[in-house]
Amino acid sequence: MQRIVQLIRKDLVVDWRQQNPFSGILLYLTSTIFASYMAFAGYVSLEVWNTLFWIIMLFTSVNAISKSFIQEERRSHYYFFLCKPHEIILGKLIYSFLYLLAVGCVALFLYSILLGNPLINYPLFLLNLILGCLGLSSAFTMVSAIAFRTSNRSIMMAVLGFPVIIPVLVLSINNSYKILDSFILMQIQGNLTALFSVDVIIIALTFVLFPFIWKS
């Protein structure tokens, strides 16, 4: 447990010291949102608002999470002797979830300033955002661990990740559209549970399969 906390703290310190990855992601987010504002301003219906937001989240999360193992290139041997694979992956999962959640909140803020804010039911939308971010971050953490071993990483992230992420994406887009369409918790309970169970499946698979990647 203590090691996990230390691993998370280490990731935080690394990100704090070399600030360009995080500020790079924020700039990426800002320019994507601004570009879509220029392209879509004037005819943003509820469907477009919702789908565009999640597509932006998708691309941002690929870029944000891809670094999580790739930055460990030189340190990986060091960890190999210090920690168990379970601790490493748990630390990574928690950190990338928090990271993506922070990015998601910034994204929501900027997005609603530029493209309008049709949100009524904040708590439910945020709950769905949290569940979506959990799925996105854990799936891409696993994919980044796989892509870490290959030669052309940035392409492999997208190629391996996108087909895998579709259940999470489809469910969260669908949920958040219903939330925007002023459905209440009772009506989308089933879908939220489905999204949560997909998240659990992803995390469980990551937990079981990661040691096999780490060993090689």
Partner: protein, 224 residues
């Protein structure tokens, strides 16, 4: 396992079933349905491709698990060849399906959840082969691609249940569609359809077993 055609009864069984499927599938009278008419015959060649694909992918995942447990090279060869034959089945399924859809529904692609799920499963296994291609070291390639195989397949299963809930399907079985469903298929169609499913699936396993022996032999020759 005995690989000789003389001794492997299921290979003879497969040949018999497929001969029956092709002859009966093309000649036996079929029920007249609006729009579908004679195109219903493609049922015996299109739907078994999906059954075969799912069975082959499932077997591929089982062999991937076996590889991770034992580190045996044979399992890896089996796993990758089963996946590649499954991919061929999927491509034939999607092409025959698109052709059928063009005549029955009017479009090659009509945002049907089953069509989408099919396309996604093909994407997953194409990505699997790209992953295999981009890893140099043989042991690393086997292990990491086995991991991806298990990971992606297990996420494909919920997808097959989720997608149909999101949109209405044109396929029979879910959605309000007047075409036939597997459960209320005419009995003459059934008499051809079930043997066809078994026959095509066996054919897939047969091809995969030959292909994996070829790849194992190649490996041995390279090592020698």
């Amino acid at each position: 396992m005995d690989y000789l055609l003389k001794k492997d009864w299921w290979k003879w069984f497969c040949i018999a079933l497929l001969t029956y499927t092709i002859v009966a599938g093309l000649l036996v009278p079929v029920p007249r349905l609006n729009i579908l008419n004679e195109t219903i015959r493609v049922l015996h060649f299109h739907v078994p491709m999906w059954f075969g694909m799912i069975f082959l992918f499932m077997a591929s995942v089982i062999h991937a698990v076996k590889y991770l447990r034992s580190g045996n090279n044979n399992s890896d060869a089996f796993s990758s060849e089963l996946a590649s034959i499954g991919l061929y089945f999927g491509v034939f399924g999607i092409l025959s399906g698109m052709l059928w859809a063009r005549f029955a529904w009017g479009e090659f692609w009509s945002n049907d959840p089953k069509q989408n799920a099919a396309a996604i499963s093909l994407l997953i296994y194409l990505a699997y082969f790209v992953l295999r291609g981009s890893l140099q070291d043989q042991q690393q390639r086997s292990r990491i691609s086995a991991v991806y195989n298990i990971f992606a397949f297990s996420l494909m299963i919920p997808l097959l249940f989720i997608l149909p809930r999101m949109t209405d399907s044109l396929h029979p079985g879910n959605g309000g569609n007047p075409a036939l469903s597997i459960y209320d298929t005419n009995s003459t169609l059934k008499a051809v359809f079930y043997p066809a499913v078994i026959g095509w699936t066996l054919l897939g396993f047969w091809i995969a077993s030959i292909a994996s022996r070829i790849s194992l032999t190649k490996q041995k020759l390279e090592d020698a």
